[in-house]
Each structure stands twice: as C-alpha cells, then as structure tokens.
Amino acid sequence: MNTAPNMITFLSRQTVTAATPMILAGVGELVGELSGVINIGIEGSMLMGCIAAYTVTGVTGHGTAGLLAAMVTGMVMAVIFAAATVWGRADQIVAGTAMDLLGVGLSGMIWMMYQNWRENLGFSTALPHGSGFSPLAIPLLRDIPFVGPAFFEQYLLCYLTICLCVGVWWMLNHTRLGLIIQALGDAPEACHAAGVRVRLGRSMCLLFAGTCAGAAGAYLSIMQTHAFAADMTGGEGFVVLALVIFGRWKLPGLVGGCLFFGLINSLQQTLQTARYTSQNSVLHALTHVPFQFFQMLPYLAAIAALAVMSRNSPGPRYINIPWPSAKT
C-alpha cells in the first residue's frame, strides 16, 4: 500500500486536483492582465462562483446548472469590475480590493439566507445526494499505469480546463485575437490605430476572466468538495495572482507554477503525515519541526525556484493605466 509507485500516483493526482482551480482562475486572470487590467478581486469572484454553484445545485439538484450559474455569476462580477475600472477609470487595485470585499460579503449573505431558508422549509443544506460532480474516469486512458489514475480520474472541469488551456494558448500564440489581447495591455495605442476598440476589448477579456473565476469557484464547492464555507477559497485568489507573475505572463509558465504549487502542497501534507506514520528515522526526526514550517514550504519553494531561474519580466506595460491614457 505504501509503495513508491502508489505514492507517485497519489501525489500527481492530488497535484492535478489541487492545481485545477488555480489554473482555471489563473488563465482568466492572465488574459485579463495581458489586456491591461489586473483584478486582485478574483478571490471575490471565486467565492461568488462557489456559493452560486452550491445553492443552485442544492435547489435544482443538477450540478451542471450550478456550474453554469457560477459562470454567469463570475461574469456579473466582471461586469461590475469592468464598469468601474475600464469605463469608470477607477484604480484597478482599489477596485479589486472592493470586489474582493463584495464577493466575501455577498457570498456570506447568500449562504446565511440560504441556510435560513432551507432550514425553515425543513430541508438539509447539504447538496442532494448525487447532485454534485464526482470524478469522471476516462475509460481507456485511466488504465495507463501511473499517468492514468493521476490524470484521467479527475473532475469534469479538470478536463475542460485542459481544453481551455490548450485553446487559450493556441489563441494567444496563433491567432490575431491573441495579438490584439496582448497589444491591449502592451500598446493600446497600436490597437486604437488599428481600429480595435480598446475598452470593449478589455471588457471582453474581463468577462472571460470572470467566467473562469466563477467556474473555479464551482470546482471548489461542487466538485472537489461538496460543501460551502464562508471564505472557503482561503487566499487562493491571491496565490493565483502571484502565480501569473511567477509564470511571467505566459500560459505554460502559469500552468507549471500552479502544478508546482499543488505538488509542493500535497508533498507537504504527505510529509507532515509520514513523519508520524513511517518507519524511516529521518522522516521521524521531522516530528520536532513545528508544523508551520511545513505550511510555509510551498511559498519558500516558490521563492527558491524563482531565485534559481533568475529571470525577471516586466509584464504588460499598461496594467492599471486606464485608456485613453496620458502616458506618453
């Protein structure tokens, strides 16, 4: 049971499971930042996605309905954010903070109201049996040793995320739309001169980002777990922001960063366990290390990785500069 291949399979599976929502939200955030808008409030959008997916699934009994609801909710949050920053020229960071607060508050409100409502009706607040998603094994692929169980026994949204990544990567690198999006954040005046509507373009990117964040929320609440808890994203949105920078505003870098982060986290959790359960004396000696040092491992590892890679990238130049801008 405790054999090495088993462990590798387990770790890679946990990694993919944990990385999926970060990748999903990160792809959206990446597109938004490439177009020149940083949304530090994705945490709020994710939470709104969580609660929307949970309540709608709870009421209708259909996970798909919940997922769609989460995406629409994320989009609505994006509309508010776009209205404030792209059209209202509000500072993106401050507005993002407000969006975060809005998401936290609204989701908490809705959760409270939902609980009261269900309890008054005498229903459980838990999801109806079988209404959330469970892992979806892909018939033949799952039988590949190691890789199969790790990558092909995941939740529906994980596969969709893979498709989305490929699609967005292709879009960014092989289509004119990709050029436009990158130019929106790097040289909006070039877009303007080419007849592209800068603010409209940015709004569209934000809508996409919001949809992704909403879906990531749904992943957390109706797939990975079938639960909602106030603030259940626990800072994941901020980690995603860091990972976009970590990936130097490139999709493969972002995905790599998310997987790396997920891996170190599951490694950390396994290590925390193994120091008590394993016979290995080295591992056993770790019992004296305060557990907080395990918890900080992913962050330390990220810093170390960056220090070794040692490459800086300035990122899109027009982040947090509204269009039309006064910048030279």
Binding site: M1, N2, N6, M7, F10, Q14, T17, A18, P21, G108, W111, M112, Q115, S124, A126, H129, L220, Q224, T225, H226, A227, A229, A230, D231, M232, T233, G234, N265, S266, Q269, T270, Q272, T273, A274, R275, Y276, T277, S278, F291, Q295
Partner: protein, 310 residues
C-alpha cells in the same frame, strides 16, 4: 424593534469567525439563542472579530449596559481582561481559553477527556495501527483534543502511530487533501476539529470507503456530527461541547448575581464535554467491548485515576 425591556438580561456574543461555519461559532450562536429563549434575554451577536478589534467592541457593549459579554474564543481573554479592568457592571466570560485572568470567567472546555475516550475507540477500531488528527489551528481546545486522543489511543496500544496536522477552519478542499494524505499513508481513523472545513474530511472518508476494502472512520468534534449527510455510516462518534449548558449556567449566574470570575473547567463531570456515539453504529461497528472500554475510561477520568494534561 427590540427595545430593551427594563430588567431584561442583555448578553453579547463575540465570535472570531462566521456564525455559519457549522462548528465552533455556529454552535456558539445556537447556544446563545437557546439562552435567549430560556431567559427571555436580549442577545446581540458579532462575527468576524479579530483580537485587534475585540477591546473596541467589548467596551462599546459595556458602555451600552450589557450585563454579560461572552468572548467566544481564547483570543478574547486578554481584551476581556482589559475591558473588565475598566470597571462597570458588565460581566465577562471567555469560552475556549485555558488560562485565567482577573475579572473574567474562563470557560475551559476540556475536550481532552472525551477525546481520550475517542482515542480508545480509535485504537480499537484501527486495523493498521495508524490514526490521525486534523485541526484547524493549534488553539487550546484543539490541542487538547489531540493530546487526549493520542493519550487514549496509547492507553490501548502503546505502539500506535498518531499523526497530527493542521489545515484551516474554512477551506474544505485543504482539509480534504490532508485527509486523503492520511488515508494514503494507511491511517484508518481520523479525528477532526476543523469546523466548516469538516465537510472536506467527510468527503475524503466517504470516497475512501467507496473504493477501499478496509473501512476508514472519522470522528466529529464540537457539535454532534454523527449524522452528517456525507458519511454518517463511517462516523462512529463525536466529541461534543454542550455550549448551551455552559452559557446558560453563566447567564443564570449573572442574572442571580452569583457570577464569579475565575475558571470553570467544563468537562465530563458537568456533562458539558462528552462523547456522543452514533446510535446507528452501536452494536455493529461499535462493539460492546468498545462501549465498555469507553465507559470505563469515563469513570477513570471522573475519579481522577486517569489525568490528561489538557
């Protein structure tokens, strides 16, 4: 609206997290609402108060003539002491702390005792000789759980391995992956005290039981989590704090003028911290031998023959 009736008891409950967390804070809210019903008291509840803000809000309640302010969490002890020192008629109680301070009644929930009993049960249930504990954070009532749990298990099987991990109160996904790491390492009884994140642990256990041969069990804490909708068939017991009893006792004391600062250790003896077995599993999963062992441990704890350092 709720205009203060003259002579009505006014109680404020201050929570550190959200009262919808399905655990510590929600229990606190329910308990205080029960008190409200019983004593026809006026009750005000504040959520999401960090220790940074505690003095401010407590003083504000005190100034508006509240009779009793309950800080629901160890982190309110020092702020409560500070506000109590300012004088006034308001009484202060802090639940979940493990030390005393002047002018404040500390409600020390000694979950170590029921956890000791759960440890015995876990050791008897475990086939692999590995059990584990997941806490939301290393706070007194949680650490007490771990200590009692480990001591109880070792009293049955001195060589048993007890893993310990902390995640967070509000991230079900994180506690789920921690539980999965436990299960992957061969742990087959998990004791959790993670409030809102407990759903994640239940999920992990439910999933493991779908695919595994050998069953994996999970214990609840704080409230009776035995009939959780996710895996009640694998939740043999919970360590429960009956907050309503504790709060009611404090409120009564305030009403009758018998309130005394100090420490009130709430444990098996006064039936505040107890083990609740899952009635549907008694007789099947929980064998009569186990029941007997739990009962004996209870007697030993009460008689002081066994003492768990909280």
């Amino acid at each position: 609206r709720a205009a203060a009736v003259k002579g009505q008891l006014r109680i404020a409950l201050i929570c550190s997290g959200s009262v919808t967390d399905g655990g510590w804070n929600q229990e606190g809210k329910n308990a205080i609402l029960a008190v409200k019903k019983k004593l026809h008291a006026h009750v005000s509840i504040l959520e999401h108060i960090s220790p940074v803000r505690a003095v401010d809000v407590m003083r504000s309640y005190a100034m508006r003539g509240y009779n009793l302010i309950i800080g629901h969490g160890y982190e309110f002890l020092i702020p409560a002491t500070e506000v109590a020192a300012m004088g006034g008629k308001t009484r202060f109680a802090v639940s979940g702390a493990d030390t005393t301070k002047p002018g404040v009644l500390t409600l020390n929930f000694d979950l170590a005792q029921p956890s000791y009993q759960l440890g015995i049960l876990a050791a008897m249930l475990s086939k692999t000789g590995k059990i584990g504990f997941i806490g939301g954070e290393a706070i007194p009532s949680v650490v007490a759980c771990y200590r009692g749990f480990a001591a109880g298990a070792r009293s049955v099987n001195p060589k048993i391995k007890v893993a310990e991990a902390y995640t967070s109160w509000d991230q079900p996904a994180l506690s789920k992956s921690q539980a999965q790491a436990f299960i992957q390492q061969g742990i087959d009884v998990i004791y959790q005290n993670v409030d809102a994140a407990s759903r994640g642990v239940f999920e992990a256990v439910a999933q493991a039981n779908q695919s595994h041969g050998a069953p994996v069990y999970v214990f609840g804490s704080n409230s009776d989590q035995n009939n959780n909708p996710t895996c009640s068939r694998y939740t043999p017991a919970s360590a429960v704090i009956r907050l309503d009893r504790a709060f009611l006792r404090v409120a009564r004391a305030v009403q009758q003028g018998t309130f005394k600062p100090g420490v009130a250790t709430e444990n098996l003896r006064n039936h505040v911290c107890i083990v609740v077995l899952n009635p549907r599993l008694v007789g099947s999963v929980i064998t009569p031998a186990m029941q007997k062992a739990i009962a004996r441990a209870g007697r030993e704890l009460l008689s002081g023959k066994v003492h768990v350092k909280p």
